[in-house]
């Protein structure tokens, strides 16, 4: 099956490349050209684990293609599409074997394009695998119908162009000072800058404490110098992981991921209100869940009895 595909695909691609050119939108070519090539390259890299040089070749190939588009456009238009499709496989047959590897690489690129084209011209979907590939389609704008993904990409690109600060905002990471975790003796761990971190997160220490203890499945308390003492041995890395989970769940907005949020309690439920986008969503309450007996059972029995 794989071999068959390999032999078969080149023709698909060639067909496509030629067919694609006919109704090409000039603006779209300019706009989509760079982005399209990039994403195609990424896809190619993902799916085929071929050596890098071949990828580079592939890129060249694509670049040439997009370059040539503008010139060829007018000429190709004159041809009826059916002719092109019939004719191209023959052309392909000659050089097909030689460049098989290469052809294989831009498979995705060509296929997704082909697919759209096919729909437009004949309305018939030839092969199922084309359909599968479609989801990975490039945001290529031809005239007429756009897929949802294309439109989504486009609107995001426009947004980025219009307000570059938003892009910067996206990239601006939410940084936090690392938790200072020190062992006390052999069985306890101190989290020295606990209150400081709570302040940075704009969360009540009580809430953070409840989360930490529930997640770690231990007990602990805040001592006189505002440091947290937890039972059990924990390393800084482990605490970082838990804190990261806390931030993800209870600090960053679930919609826009901005850390500028307020946690409110409303009718026994916690709501996360975002200051940036104004969204408001409920967050899970902190439950420690099942706790297995780890201590000495005899001691527990003595206590209760």
């Amino acid at each position: 099956m794989a071999e068959e595909e390999a032999i078969f695909d080149p023709s698909l691609k060639k067909k496509k490349k030629k067919a694609k050119k006919t109704p090409f939108d000039f603006d779209a070519a300019l706009a989509g050209g760079t982005a399209g090539n990039e994403s195609a390259e990424v896809e190619v890299g993902k799916e085929n684990e071929n050596p890098e040089e071949e990828e580079i070749k592939d890129v060249d190939d694509l670049d040439l293609e997009s370059f040539g588009k503008k010139k060829k456009k007018s000429k190709k238009k004159a041809f009826p599409i059916e002719d092109l499709e019939v004719a191209s496989p023959e052309v392909e047959g000659q050089d097909g074997e030689a460049v098989e590897d290469q052809e294989d690489l831009d498979l995705d690129f060509s296929k997704s394009l082909k697919k759209k084209k096919k729909k437009k011209i004949t309305g018939v979907v030839e092969e199922e695998k084309d359909e599968k590939e479609e989801s990975t389609g490039v945001a290529w704008t031809t005239d007429g119908d756009y897929t949802y993904d294309e439109l989504l990409n486009r609107v995001f690109n426009i947004m980025r162009e219009k307000n570059p600060e938003m892009v910067a905002g996206e990239k601006k990471k939410f940084t936090m000072r690392p938790p200072q975790v020190v062992r006390i003796g052999t069985k306890k761990t101190s989290f020295a800058n606990f209150s400081e971190i709570c302040k940075m997160l704009h969360r009540q220490p009580k809430h953070v404490l409840a989360f930490l203890l529930a997640e770690l499945g231990t007990s602990g308390s805040v001592d006189g110098n505002n440091q947290l003492i937890i039972k059990g041995r924990f390393q800084q890395k482990q605490m970082e992981n838990v804190l990261r989970r806390y931030v993800k769940e209870y600090v960053t907005c679930h919609t826009c991921r901005s850390p500028d949020t307020i946690l409110q309690k409303d009718t026994r439920l916690f709501f996360l209100q975002c200051e940036t986008c104004g969204s408001r969503c409920s967050v899970a309450s902190i439950k420690s869940g099942f706790q297995a007996v780890t201590g000495k059972r005899a001691a527990i029995r003595a206590k209760t009895a």
Binding site: L216, Q238, F290, A292
Partner: protein, 110 residues
């Protein structure tokens, strides 16, 4: 002419849901607890009551080379306990066997 004995028992009567299909609902919480020294305990809470937890634990004990047990809890139902940090193992095993989907697994702890 009736072959009563052929009809009486349908071995697939309770299998109409299909393997791993919506039997598990709700999250499976996988937690870790520290014990004395470097020892830990992994608890798996929230597995569907349809599953035979004893069978699961029997298999897991062999698979992960650890001891384990099923604990009955009034609020949380039957909870699996495995010795050692088996969080990774149990996650992989649950998804591999199709008992729970990856998005249903919630791993707690450090």
């Amino acid at each position: 002419m009736s072959f009563q004995n052929l009809k009486t028992f349908d071995p697939f009567a309770d299998a109409d849901k299909g393997p791993g299909e919506a039997v598990q609902d709700g999250l499976v919480h996988i937690r870790i607890q520290q014990r004395n020294g470097r020892k830990t305990l992994t608890t798996i809470q929230g597995l569907s009551a349809e599953y035979d937890l004893k069978k699961i634990v029997r298999h897991c004990k062999k698979e992960f080379a650890c001891n384990g047990t099923v604990v009955e809890h009034p609020e949380y139902g039957e909870v699996l306990q495995l010795q050692g940090d088996q969080r990774e193992n149990i996650c992989q095993w649950l998804t591999k066997t199709g008992l729970a989907k990856p998005e249903q697994l919630k791993v707690h702890g450090f």
